[in-house]
């Protein structure tokens, strides 16, 4: 069973969001990192980039797969996790902690309501 922290919000494409004031911290879920296997590379957006919800924000790569990361909410990228450049395994080891990907300054915090709760995300995984 993968870990799904109750306080986070989720997207069906396996991103999570933690809200810190008007900034959304984004990562991929424990389930997603497990399904990908050992990550070897993470491509991140550039700080200052403005993204719409659902727009491609980056890519996570393992040896045998590559998966796009989508912006879970719209807004401006205000920080990216540079540590992943040298240590992509942080995403595997601490998907909800030091393995975060980027931070978006949210244009509309109302969008959060459209994301899945932990329970809803668990339901999705159960049905897959």
């Amino acid at each position: 069973m993968s870990e799904i922290p109750a306080e986070l919000r989720y997207r069906t494409s396996h991103e999570w969001v933690r809200v810190e004031d008007d900034v959304a911290v984004v990562g991929i879920t424990d389930h997603a990192q497990d399904a990908m296997g050992d990550l070897v590379y993470v491509e991140l957006p550039e700080v200052g980039q403005v993204l719409a919800t659902g727009e491609e924000a980056g890519v996570v790569e393992s040896v045998k797969a590559a998966s796009d990361i989508y912006a879970p909410v719209s807004g401006e990228i205000v920080a990216v996790n540079d540590a992943l450049e040298d240590e992509p395994e942080l995403v595997n080891n601490e998907p909800y902690g030091n393995g975060w990907l980027f931070k978006i300054k949210m244009a509309d915090s109302g969008e959060l309501k459209e994301m899945l709760t932990a329970d809803q995300y668990q339901e999705q995984l159960d049905s897959e």
């Binding site: 050992d38 070897v40 590379y41 790569e61 393992s62 040896v63 045998k64 992509p88 395994e89």
Partner: protein
């Protein structure tokens, strides 16, 4: 053979060299016309080794390869059949090897005659109206094919066609090619029986459809039975039908892409026409077209003046609507000559036998592997020239995956089948024996597969660590990708 082989650079000693090979050095005076500012400051770091060092090093390296000349190679969708040595000798004839690609037609009649004959041979085999031999590999043939589809729509000012449809089981080159030709890709689902979901296809087709790319037999190893309905659906929507020739071996002399309604096809001569894979290439990917795409064929092609009997090049000056040249010269000429040799040896009846005996071998192998306990992905279907086993059950119950079985096969001196393709069948092995393998060779493979299934049940941990007999054990792919080491440094 488990010893590490040094790199060629580790044999290097300053001042050593293969001294019979290079001409004597020229004097600096003779180089005075080259400005000093453009001269290299340090000589390039090529190894300084003797001729024997080189011959021994690369001969030793060659012994670390599996090869058709050494082992059974049942790689699905790769058609690893015997590569006749006679084809190699014929292509290496001095007259062919010494010919400069831009030599005038007056000095190229023999070569042009071979190409001209091969074009006609491939036209007849595929039922198409015209063939160009120019593309240098299957993927470039795909590119040429989709570029022709685009040229066709463009010529009609039919510019709302922005999508190429591709069955979800397709080879990755199909979507990559469509994008290289400026199209968006829409995937079409495949049903439980391996055939395309026709209803979904009908939904997906429309005025935005430029064409559909598919293989038949499909990548699921079965003949697409609804091909005529698929062709009608795509054509009715104004799209064109592209045939990926990856699996042409299965239907040679049985049914022709042209007769199935395809507008454009590519062939992989390094599969169907027995030219060698060479450890990754070269291939050749000729394209064939129906009447309406003839104006767009890639150049150059070989032409014949019936009156004079002279062969000549058909190039963009005589075919200005062509999609143009895809290489500096004329494709992979040497591969084309090898394919021509093969075509001439097999002839009409030999072509028909290819389809028959490759299909016979695949169905035999499938039946026997089912008998020893393996699960077919499409048990109710005939195999084409290849078939899929799924090890989903073994993966779940024994924790032994398709990859583990593949690796363990190497210990039995059998090359592994294609693994994890197509992606929609979990834990799959795609197996293609080809027509050139004897029954005994297949029986040895069956025995190895049976033994491995037994090992998977009794000693799964051992299977998971295989292979044990190869020059290296399983490699750390994660380290390779995280800590890139792509060139040697002392």
């Amino acid at each position: 053979m488990s010893n590490e082989t040094k790199l060629i650079f580790q044999h290097s000693r300053p001042g050593r060299g293969a001294n019979a090979q290079a001409p004597k050095p020229v004097s600096e005076d003779q180089l005075s016309a080259i400005p000093a500012s453009l001269r290299r400051k340090q000589k390039p770091g090529l190894p300084e080794v003797s001729e024997l060092d080189v011959v021994r090093h690369y001969t030793n390296l060659s012994s670390k390869n599996f090869a058709i000349d050494k082992q059974f190679y049942p790689l699905g969708s790769c058609t690893m059949k015997y590569n006749p040595r006679g084809a190699n000798r014929a292509a290496m004839l001095p007259g062919f090897l010494a010919r400069h690609p831009l030599a005038p037609a007056s000095h190229s009649q023999g070569y042009l005659a071979c190409l001209y004959d091969l074009q006609n041979f491939l036209k007849e085999v595929t039922g198409m109206k015209g063939v160009s031999l120019a593309p240098m590999a299957g993927a470039q043939g795909e590119f040429a094919g989709v570029a022709m589809i685009r040229a066709y729509h463009d010529a009609r000012n039919d510019d709302g066609r922005t999508e190429i449809l591709i069955p979800e089981a397709a080879h990755g080159t199909n979507p990559a090619t469509a994008v290289m030709c400026g199209y968006k890709v829409r995937e079409v689902p495949v049903g439980k029986d391996g055939d395309v979901d026709l209803e979904a296809l009908k939904q997906a087709c429309g005025p935005q459809t430029a064409g559909l790319m598919m293989t038949n037999p499909s990548t699921c190893g079965v003949f697409e039975r609804q091909i005529e309905a698929i062709a009608k659906t795509v054509h009715d929507a104004g799209g064109l039908l592209y045939y990926d020739g990856a699996n042409l071996n299965a239907i040679l002399g049985k049914v022709r892409p042209g007769d199935m309604g395809f507008d454009v096809i590519h062939m992989n001569l390094h599969k169907t026409f027995a030219t060698p894979h060479g450890g990754g290439g070269p291939g050749a990917g000729p394209v064939g077209v129906s009447q309406r795409l003839l104006p767009y064929l890639p150049t150059p092609m070989a032409g014949l003046d019936e009156d004079s009997g002279e062969y000549s090049w058909i190039d963009t000056d005589t075919l200005p609507t062509s999609i143009g040249h895809l290489s500096a010269f004329m494709g992979n000429a040497g591969v084309l000559l090898r394919a021509y040799f093969y075509a001439m040896v097999l002839g009409r009846e030999g072509m028909i036998r290819v389809g028959e005996y490759s299909t016979l071998a695949a169905n035999y192998l499938l039946k026997r592997l089912q008998q020893v306990g393996y699960t077919a992905a499409y048990p109710e279907r005939r195999a084409s020239h290849e078939f899929i086993l799924t090890l989903a059950k073994e993966a779940k119950e024994l924790n032994v995956t398709a990859m583990d079985v593949a690796k363990r096969l190497l210990d039995y001196n059998q090359h592994a089948p294609t693994t994890y393709f197509p992606l929609l069948v979990p834990e799959c092995l795609l197996i293609e024996p080809t027509e050139t393998e004897s029954k005994e060779a297949m029986d040895d493979f069956i025995a190895a597969m049976e033994a491995i299934l037994h090992e998977a049940k009794t000693d799964p941990d051992m299977v998971k660590e295989a292979p044990f007999t190869q020059p290296v054990r399983r490699l750390d792919d994660v380290k390779a990708a995280r800590e890139l080491d792509l060139t040697w440094s002392e």
